[in-house]
């Protein structure tokens, strides 16, 4: 490979430009055309068609389509043909075609023998400010402000250049209100305002800032900003917007990480790779849910059998992850390179797929937070269950007698059988628990299938009907009165639930073994038990059964889904129907029966039939069905034993019930990475060559190698590699990006106005030196965000008034020179965002519930459907008066009140919220039931604070709403409203005022 001279300085450019300029003195040079229009795709980084146009050899050598030029013969040169083409072969393919003049310049260049030194053309996009290393700058020295905050010294330089005078400091009441909304997201109480206003010590502001930053509400407030970028929600989104009940631990992690001031590089690392870090800290695992909290399409990923749809859904899924990581941490819009090279930034399509490969082992889903914890709980559970099982089995024998289910399970009737074992009614074949069947094939109805089991005479698939006789025993017993059926049957007659059992509970009782015995007959099935007197007498001694007579008892029910008229159950003794339960449904619950058996040998037959409407879910189960002595002679000793066993079983059940569920979080399921191919035009059905995991080249070629991995690399290696690339101090982006985000929220506008796009399409920094200085402060200050907040909050710039009292007509006034306030000669006034407004209403109304952490509050009615339905409601409960950060966020059904106030849709990442003012919004703040509810509570609070005096109520109300004392005129107006319309109306009015909704 030839030595390459990388030209970056403008001096080198002049040289190069000068060289080409000789050929065409009055216009653009050929090399400039190649540089600006060609080498983006035919250069060092991207070699489309194996053609390079960034050096003379490349031009002469050509690419896949042949030589680019014929030296001296422009007419025969492919380059000219392609730039002058008018069909889809035209180059460059994007943007305007080259002008005739430009083509003429290229012609002349070729005809003159392509005069070119040995320098390479450099893609000028690589010179973009954001990719350059952080530049240390000395804080400007100002004679007048020698001890000022460095931030102010940077800003002062820019202002003095433009002749702009900043506004003075805002009043104390303005400052505390601004700081409070900004840092903790709620208004200060009148008491806090008074305390600060009267605190004349020099460090009053500093202490106030420190107190606010130390408040746990700081994390709650600033987590909201981060969740906007993470597009967090508590449901999947898309068509079947199912609940994600375990999403919230991530939200709590963000709150805690901010409150504990987790160093920002750790904040990044844990969110990209926390689950694969060696330390196995459960908190890190939760942090990595950052990759998963965005939308996810259940129908495309899971429900459809179509591989084409699945591939597209997965590609969208990975795109979401890559976009989120790269825009939030690095401010690079790599997603623009999914279908083609990035149109503005030097990001090739290859690099997009390289990043996709980093995450190709990441799937989303519920996962355990901590494996060890789950194992410990499971071990305890299994040990408790083992103990309980032994007790329950003995209890069952003592209290119930001979269990038919146990016999079907291959047991002796006293618990030796195996749960799940069954017998196929159409063949009498034995079925092990794992041998599950659906519809049985080759069923012959009414054929008697004898079994080997001494207790079971035979089984059969019944299909009766008017006058039809069914053989039910080997001895030739005949049954009548069994209805006609579809002669279909599902699975087997089992000890325990059948295959795909809808439920084991009925009437609120869980009948599942081992607590109960469960004999399941899925329609259509019949079984005849052979109750031989001698066998029964072996099971119950004469002492236990003095009368020698037996009774068959238990309960029966329909355990399927159908509420009514599901299936029928029959009990026959010696071929006679003695009890029947036609048309049982789930709503019928459990039915008891008790049947005295005849003396001597007898045949007991149980039949389930389909009620003439198909066998779907026709799960007839006999619960605790047993043969027991008619008049048992239970000894006192036995009774005691039963009692103590029952008690012990109950205690163990209590322990089992109290066992915690292992904590779960909706997060990353780490898998073996799938191979990633470059997709032509982003089309999943047009895969190209395989792309290996890698990071971006534009930030520095050396740095990129950190995350360049081979095809065998694991998911952990890939994500750790990328995290290392992002967190490296050589990577200037993360520090710049987060510093700018903090600045954006403190001033309402970033130093870079596009906080998630630092590329060529984004805004330029208004104060580049300050941005780099702050970024270095962050890197060198242990990546502490709170330190940075403090630095900003202590600046004069932050504390400046937002109110320009001047008329603003003088030509030299700041408002005329810098109307957009780029120079920050004043603080920007802001409207409260949706959540802060809601929280502020709760706060002044005295409703706030400060409970932190845990599952979100649900202010909606939930209806289970194919696509679940969420109807937002205004509830009157302290649970929903928690701060808005704890809202259960439904992705496809945005909250109507908050949405009217520009709460963003969590389908997209939102680095900057819109602030709109609409009539619909004003209707919402005036009339929404939530506002009326809080106005009412506000009124009640005032009455309890100051009693019934209207004037006192007015004063207190304004203090609470505006964080300041009212003027005499305001007191008069407010009192007048209370007296003529009522206190409620004053409260509602205050919550609607601009002064309440805007922060100076």
């Amino acid at each position: 490979m030839a030595m390459q001279v990388i030209l970056r300085s403008s001096a080198a450019w002049l040289l190069l430009g000068g060289l080409a300029l000789c050929q065409s003195p009055s216009s653009e040079s050929a090399l400039e055309i190649l540089r600006d229009r060609c080498i983006q795709c035919h250069g060092q980084r991207i070699e489309e068609g194996k053609l390079r146009l960034d050096h003379r050899d490349g031009l002469l050598h050509g690419g896949e389509s042949g030589k680019a030029i014929q030296l001296g013969h422009s007419a025969e040169s492919l380059l000219i043909a392609r730039v002058s083409a008018t069909d889809e072969t035209r180059m460059p393919p994007d943007g305007q075609a080259l002008t005739q003049d430009q083509i003429e310049i290229l012609r002349r260049f070729i005809d003159q023998g392509a005069p070119w030194g040995n320098q390479n053309l450099q893609d000028s996009r690589m010179d973009h400010w954001a990719w350059q290393p952080l530049r240390p700058t000395n804080v400007p020295w100002l004679d007048t402000q020698s001890d000022a905050n460095p931030i102010d010294r940077f800003l002062a330089v820019a202002m003095s250049k433009r002749g702009v005078e900043p506004l003075p400091r805002a009043s104390r009441k303005e400052l505390i209100r601004r700081l409070s909304f900004d840092v903790v997201g709620a208004p200060p109480s009148p008491e806090e305002v008074q305390e600060y206003e009267t605190d004349l010590s020099e460090d009053a502001w500093e202490r106030l800032v420190d107190r606010m930053l130390a408040s746990p509400q700081y994390g709650e407030r600033w987590a909201r900003h981060w969740l906007d970028i993470a597009h967090y929600a508590d449901t999947h989104g898309f068509e079947r917007d199912q609940r994600r009940d375990h999403a919230w631990p991530y939200r709590d992690w963000v709150i805690d990480a901010l409150n504990t001031d987790l160093p920002y590089d750790q904040f990044i690392l844990h969110q990209i790779a926390g689950d694969v870090l060696p330390d196995k800290d459960p908190r890190s695992t939760i942090a990595s849910s950052f990759l998963a909290v965005g939308p996810w399409d259940f129908v495309g990923q899971v429900e459809t059998p179509s591989p084409v749809i699945k591939r597209l859904a997965r590609a969208d899924d990975l795109d979401d992850i890559v976009t989120q990581v790269m825009t939030s941490f690095c401010g690079v819009t790599v997603h623009c390179a999914r279908c083609h090279h990035h149109k503005l930034d030097p990001v090739g399509q290859q690099e997009y797929y390289g990043l996709t490969a980093i995450f190709s082992g990441v799937k989303r889903g519920d996962r355990l937070v901590w494996q060890d914890e789950a194992q410990a709980i499971e071990a305890t559970r299994s040990q408790l269950k083992g103990r309980k099982l032994a007790i329950d089995q003995e209890l069952l024998k003592l209290s119930h007698g001979l269990l038919l289910a146990d016999i079907v399970g291959g047991g002796n009737g006293f618990g030796t059988g195996l749960i799940g074992v069954g017998v196929d009614p159409s063949t009498a074949g034995l079925k092990q628990p794992h041998e599950k069947s659906g519809f049985l094939d080759g069923v012959v109805a009414n054929r008697l299938n004898p079994t080997e089991n001494p207790w079971i005479d035979s089984v059969f698939v019944p299909d009766g009907g008017a006058g039809k006789e069914l053989a039910i025993s080997q001895s030739g017993k005949i049954a009548r009165g069994i209805p006609a059926t579809g002669a279909k049957v599902w699975d087997a007659i089992r000890n325990g639930p059948v295959n795909s059992q809808f439920s084991t509970s009925l009437d609120g009782v869980d009948c599942a073994p081992p607590g109960h015995s469960m004999l399941s007959l899925h329609a259509n099935a019949g079984i005849t038990f052979r109750l031989k007197a001698d066998l029964l007498d072996q099971s119950f001694s004469p002492q236990e059964n003095p009368s020698g007579r037996f009774v068959f008892s238990g309960m029966v029910g329909y355990f399927g889904q159908t509420p009514t008229q599901g299936a029928d159950a029959y009990i026959l003794v010696d071929g006679q129907v003695v009890n029947k339960f036609p048309g049982l449904g789930r709503d019928d619950g459990l039915k008891s029966f008790r049947i005295e058996l005849p003396k001597g040998d007898s045949l007991l037959t149980l039949i389930a039939t389909d009620h003439g409407n198909g066998i779907g879910h026709d799960q007839i189960c006999f619960i605790d069905a047993s043969i027991a002595p008619l008049d048992p002679n239970t000894s006192a000793q036995q009774k005691d034993r039963i009692e103590s066993l029952a008690k012990e079983s109950g205690l163990l059940q209590g322990e089992l019930d109290r066992l915690p569920e292992p904590r779960k979080v909706y997060g990353v399921l780490s898998e073996t990475p799938a191979s990633i191919r470059l997709l032509h035009r982003g089309n999943t059905e047009e895969p190209g060559q395989e792309v290996l995991p890698s990071a971006l080249a534009c930030v520095g070629p050396n740095l990129a190698s950190i995350a360049r991995l081979d095809a065998q690399s694991t998911d952990a290696q890939r994500r750790l590699g990328l995290a290392q690339w992002i967190c490296s101090e050589e990577n200037p982006l993360p520090a710049r990006v987060i510093v700018n985000r903090l600045w954006h929220h403190h001033f309402g506008k970033g130093i870079v106005a596009t906080p998630s796009d630092f590329g060529l399409g984004g805004a330029l920094p208004s104060h580049p030196e300050l941005l780099d200085w702050l970024a270095l402060q962050l890197q060198q200050g242990g990546w502490s965000l709170k330190r940075l907040h403090r630095l900003i909050l202590l600046s004069e710039a932050y504390r400046r008034s937002s109110i320009d009292a001047h008329s603003g007509t003088q030509e030299n006034s700041a408002r005329v020179i810098d109307a957009g306030n780029e120079l920050l000669w004043r603080q920007n006034p802001r409207r409260l965002d949706a959540e802060s407004l809601r929280d502020a209403m709760l706060s002044v109304a005295g409703s706030s519930n400060g409970t932190m952490h845990g599952p979100g509050y649900r202010d909606f009615e939930y209806q289970e459907e194919y696509a679940p339905v969420y109807r937002h409601q205004v509830l009157d409960s302290p649970e929903v008066f928690r701060r808005s950060i704890y809202r259960f966020v439904v992705r496809t059904t945005p909250h109507p009140f908050l949405t009217s106030l520009d709460c963003p849709n969590p389908a997209t990442m939102t680095p900057v919220r819109n602030t709109t003012t609409t009539a619909i919004q004003s209707l919402a703040t005036l009339n929404n039931a939530f506002v009326l509810q809080q106005s009412e509570r506000f009124a009640n609070r005032l009455q309890s604070d100051v009693g019934q005096d209207a004037r006192q109520q007015a004063i207190r109300a304004i203090q609470l709403a505006f964080s300041r004392s009212p003027t005499p005129e305001e007191i008069d107006s407010a009192t007048d409203l209370i007296q003529n319309a009522g206190l409620f109306h004053l409260c509602r009015t205050l919550l609607n005022t601009n002064e309440f909704i805007y922060v100076d």
Partner: protein, 485 residues
């Protein structure tokens, strides 16, 4: 009983007083201008001077009828004689595995016979006897495709050009570009099926990253005065108390604003309460269908228990457009449920005859009434009517079922009025309606054409978001000249 009187700006006289008193900030004229362009004055970044129209518009309004669930083109608009010949023969089972349900059955001809109609002689199936009478006003695009076979993403694509949620819907883009003709009603109104919201929910008419003022406002067709959310307080209160409250509110707001001269946002919010008051007066009026004649009620089939609700949606759409609303979207169908009955939308997997039979009559009645009514009132020329679904259905049965699976490969959309040449068909699907064949197109071209008729160049209507100058038509779209009169 609660009294829900208009409460924001009570009497005309006091309103005039109020406007007269805005001496310090904006005068009355300025204030009204602000109201008029409220959205823009208050919106975020402006799209670099693309506010106005790019060329003279033909259409002023759009009424879009959306049939969610997947309307079967081969049973309705797209006549496929070849399918009659193949009827009953099995479809390629390998290709069939690529479909949403993953199982293809036998080819199936239309369940309703096709006939030619009108001077144009275009074909339409007997499912739509009334629309067949309008055929010379309708222009069909038979080569529509979608990039997704799933309801949610395909709905989003048809509405916003993207299969991902979170992009602005067409109604949002149009109102963002053109603003409103009326300050008394929302500029973009959505009339969902009273049975419920369509797949994907309210994101279908979301404004995405555009300012919230451009999102669709849902209006109920129940006839209640409170047709939009929060129009009136959720509890009864005396009109007098409300009036006093509002007067004090605006007094305080004006005082607050007068000390902060640099801030137009504060003025805008004062004005927004004025605008809210207008909504309180106009919305109950527009939703009151009793004002219409009995003949009109009959035309729209208002009394019909099945077709009535959609008839009301169509009638209300006409009333909204008459009053200057820019964009109205009507949903003919709701979200799927797990209930085993007539499907609540066009998603006829199990039984085409049952579900399309039901919905067909509904669409036929309302849409034909709408076209005829607009025409007789001289509104059709300035109102572009669009009817579409998110995708079509397959030319074969879904396995052993009597229904058809989703088909994103081909479907039909049609337009009428607003500068559209009637009685024409553009593009074609293959001989059985499986894939678009001649002039294959996506929603992009439909959107580009609609924007063109509204005087907007789809390539120049852009908004910067996360690194990209976004467009309704993404990087695609061409105006279908063949459909333009």
């Amino acid at each position: 009983m609660s009294i829900k009187a208009p409460c924001i700006l009570p009497m005309q006289s006091s309103r005039r007083d109020w406007l007269g008193r805005i001496g310090s900030g904006l005068g009355m004229i300025a204030c009204q201008a602000l109201l008029h362009r409220s959205s823009h004055a208050m919106a975020g970044p402006s799209p670099s001077g693309q506010r106005g129209l790019h060329h003279a518009p033909v259409a002023q309004h759009v009424i879009e009828i959306f049939c969610p669930g997947g309307l079967s083109h081969v049973d309705t608009w797209d006549y496929k004689p070849q399918l009659e010949r193949l009827h009953g023969s099995p479809f390629d089972s390998e290709l069939g595995k690529q479909t949403f349900a993953g199982v293809a059955g036998k080819h199936a001809k239309s369940f309703w016979p096709f006939r030619q109609h009108g001077q144009s002689g275009l074909w339409i199936s007997e499912l739509f006897p009334k629309l067949a009478q309008c055929i010379d006003d309708m222009a069909f695009v038979h080569s529509m495709q979608s990039k997704s076979a799933l309801h949610g993403p395909a709905m989003f694509m048809m509405n916003s050009g993207f299969i991902q949620p979170g992009f602005p819907s067409m109604g949002s883009w149009v109102t963002y570009a053109l603003g409103s003709q009326t300050e008394n009603l929302p500029e973009f109104v959505v009339l969902p099926d009273p049975r419920g919201l369509p797949p994907g929910g309210i994101i279908n008419w979301g404004s995405g990253f555009l300012p919230a003022v451009h999102q669709g406002t849902v209006m109920e067709i129940g006839g209640s005065a409170e047709a939009i959310g929060d129009l009136f307080p959720a509890r009864s209160m005396s009109a007098q108390s409300q009036q006093r409250s509002i007067e004090l509110l605006q007094k305080w707001n004006r005082e607050h604003s007068s000390q902060r001269q640099a801030d137009t946002l504060l003025e805008a919010r004062i004005a927004s309460f004025e605008l809210a008051g207008k909504l309180q007066m106009s919305v109950p009026e527009v939703v009151n269908l009793e004002q219409e004649t009995e003949a009109t009620h009959r035309l729209y089939g208002i009394e019909d228990p099945d077709a009535g609700p959609f008839g009301k949606q169509c009638l209300l759409a006409r009333r909204l457009v008459e009053r200057g609303v820019r964009f109205v979207q009507i949903y003919c169908g709701a979200e799927n449920t797990s209930k085993k009955a007539i499907r609540p939308n066009w998603d006829s997997h199990e039984d085409i005859v049952r579900d399309h039979g039901y919905w067909g009559r509904i669409l036929d009645t309302g849409a034909s009434a709408l076209i005829g009514d607009l025409k007789s009132r001289g509104l059709l020329e300035s109102t572009l009517v669009i009817c579409t679904s998110e995708f079509g259905r397959q030319p074969f049965m879904q396995g052993e079922q009597k229904g058809r699976d989703h088909n994103p490969g081909a479907f039909t959309a049609w337009m009428a009025g607003g500068g559209i040449r009637g009685g024409v068909a553009y593009g074609a699907s293959d001989p059985i309606g499986f894939k678009a064949q001649e002039n294959p197109t996506y929603c992009y071209d439909l959107h580009a054409t609609a924007l063109h008729l509204l005087g907007i160049d789809h390539q120049r209507l852009t908004f910067y978001h996360n690194g990209i100058q976004r467009r309704l038509t993404d990087v695609h779209g061409k105006v279908i000249r063949e459909l333009i009169a």
